[in-house]
Point group: C2
Chain length 367, copies 2
């Protein structure tokens, strides 16, 4: 194999595929990247067995071929080369020769035949959305996936499409996050649970451009994200997701409208009184046109009043401050609406069309 390519092109491509290279693995071959030269293009592939990435870049191919080489090592070498074209050459013994400027490297490759190439995915069921929107939807829901591998389904996020309605949802034992949008076209009915790890890597690769689109293809066991010259293939999590709709309601006893930044900063300050493992709730006293926020810990206490608009009755309720902070951080609106029933019922933070967050309160009697 012999080819010449632009340093920054291959550097960018390797940084993309690195996201499917496992940090620790008992299979050293998965630490490698496949570099395939054919048809005036290079194709780079990595695969950690649940997530696989493939990306393409143009190159000047003198002799077609394929090499397998440690991904982190080659990425570090390329990153530190001078900003000039790089010439690669490999022989039948997997020896790799790399020239760039006046630098010459000799490296050992591996036999590419042992590498688990990506599965072929049938491109039938799909949706198309902007990369910006998908990136936002992931950011606004991924924080409430569960880390508990014993309940695998909760370590992923539900992707649900009904016609032109697209919904992403995640939940753990204390909260639910739902983000909805209207698609430009109507697609069929699709339901899939995508691993959180996949989504966080996809999110890093998404450009976030309003104009750039991503196509998402679904099969029974896999999902494929296609964005420009890159495809990301992931296994789905098997099993049925929880029925979220039955947890939701539009009723309420108290509706509080509050400045998001003010509420977030206040809770943030309250948590300063928590030492590492300490687990004290923040108490919200909703009274007339104010919330009095309170926190009492071993170190000291704080209270602060925040002006609100209120419909319905007064209320005293307590929450794990982390759960409120997580939600308030991802909402872009200046004001949020909290919908409450009583001290033991969940709080809903939602707007009419795009998001619903549900947070369970902490029992006040315990504190």
């Amino acid at each position: 194999m012999k080819f010449t390519c632009n340093k920054s092109d291959i550097n960018e491509a390797i940084n993309i595929v690195l996201k499917a290279v496992p940090g620790k693995t008992t299979m050293p071959i998965l630490e490698c990247v496949v570099i395939e030269a054919a048809d005036d293009e290079l194709k780079l592939t990595t695969n950690d067995m649940s997530l696989g990435i493939e990306t393409r870049l143009s190159a000047n191919i003198e002799e077609e071929g394929i090499i397998l080489v440690n991904a982190k090592m080659i990425s570090e070498i390329i990153r530190k080369l001078p900003d000039e074209d790089i010439y690669f050459e490999s022989d039948s013994n997997e020896n790799i020769l790399l020239f760039c400027g006046k630098a010459k490297f000799n490296l050992s490759g591996k036999n590419h035949e042992e590498f688990p190439m990506l599965p072929k995915i049938e491109k039938e069921k799909k949706i198309v959305i902007s990369q910006f929107t998908l990136k936002e939807m992931i950011r606004q829901t991924i924080f409430s996936i569960s880390n508990n591998e014993n309940n695998k389904i909760l370590t992923g996020e539900l992707f649900e499409i009904n016609g032109d309605e697209f919904k992403i949802a995640s939940l753990d034992l204390h909260r639910v996050s739902i983000r909805k949008i209207q698609l430009k076209e109507s697609y069929g009915d699709i339901k899939a649970v995508i691993p959180g790890k996949t989504l966080s890597e996809v999110s890093k690769i998404l450009t976030g451009g309003m104009e750039d689109e991503v196509e998402i293809f679904f099969t029974k066991n896999h999902v494929l994200f296609e964005l420009g010259k890159t495809i990301i293939i992931s296994r789905l999590i098997e099993g049925n997701f929880y029925n979220i709709n039955q947890m939701l309601t539009n009723d309420y006893e108290t509706k509080v409208t509050v400045n998001k930044r003010e509420l977030l900063n206040c809770i943030d300050r309250a948590t300063l009184l928590l030492r590492e493992a300490e687990n004290k709730p923040v108490i919200m006293n909703v009274k007339n046109d104010e919330i009095k926020m309170e926190m009492n810990t071993k170190i000291g206490s704080m209270d602060e009043n925040i002006g609100i608009q209120k419909e319905g009755k007064d209320l005293r309720i307590a929450f794990d401050p982390k759960f409120l902070i997580d939600v308030l951080r991802v909402i872009d609106e200046e004001e949020v609406n909290l919908y409450l029933f009583n001290a033991k019922a969940p709080c809903f933070i939602r707007d009419d069309n795009s998001y619903i967050y549900l947070i369970l309160p902490v029992n006040l009697i315990d504190n």
Copy 2:
């Protein structure tokens, strides 16, 4: 005690004194900051027993007094308060009340009488230099202090003043770094060994401004840095520093002049072939008007030619790449001069007036 102060003023002051708060300590009182209100000023003091910092800021004092409070906690609370004035109040039971905007905090202080206040330093022997220069001199020498606490003297840096000549030096078993400047005035003869930890904290507090000055006072056991409203007091390391002058020479057999950036980047690339604990030298083949740099490791090999100007004979010599990188990173000049004798003698990297670095080579036969 009662006072009101500007949030960003006290925030800045606390960030300065935090540098003498120990990360881990068996004496929890050292994790505290003393806040003293008197004469329209606040004075903040911290002390980890080898390093102490005191800084002042203006405040509106309603009632004079003194409090002792956990430094990290109070700094985090202040940092997250709204950008408004902060009101502090404390009673005789060490309870601290803090108001800012609509937020109110209750915190417990400690008895300030148990805190080890800073020693009184006689301000007799001193020098004055610009903060920029001192910061640079520390940066350009501190990397070669030793971490070995068994040879305490090498964990510090020598500050030596002879008339108007000021020299900072550090050394470990493999190398020596010396940085010299000419002072504006002539001072007496001073010699002191200052702990590396002190210098790295001082360096962070120095503004780096050309116009800002720092006064350095020396006593038998202490050094005091005075910069604006802040003073930093440190113990000196006892004992005699190595006689550096007898390690130096102006002779050489080979003089190599090379572009610093090119040499540094090449060595940097060569180290990419080193896996974690691997300890292979970079080999320099000085021949005619080129250095051929070579590195051979388990992973592979690299070589690269760099153009040079040379006086004297050809030479093959090997170095720990880290030591060369450390020196080349802190030299600001575009070109450097290497002075060499043979494969077993030290390499000198020096200019006429301001710096001398000495690096021992690695035995080539072993590799």
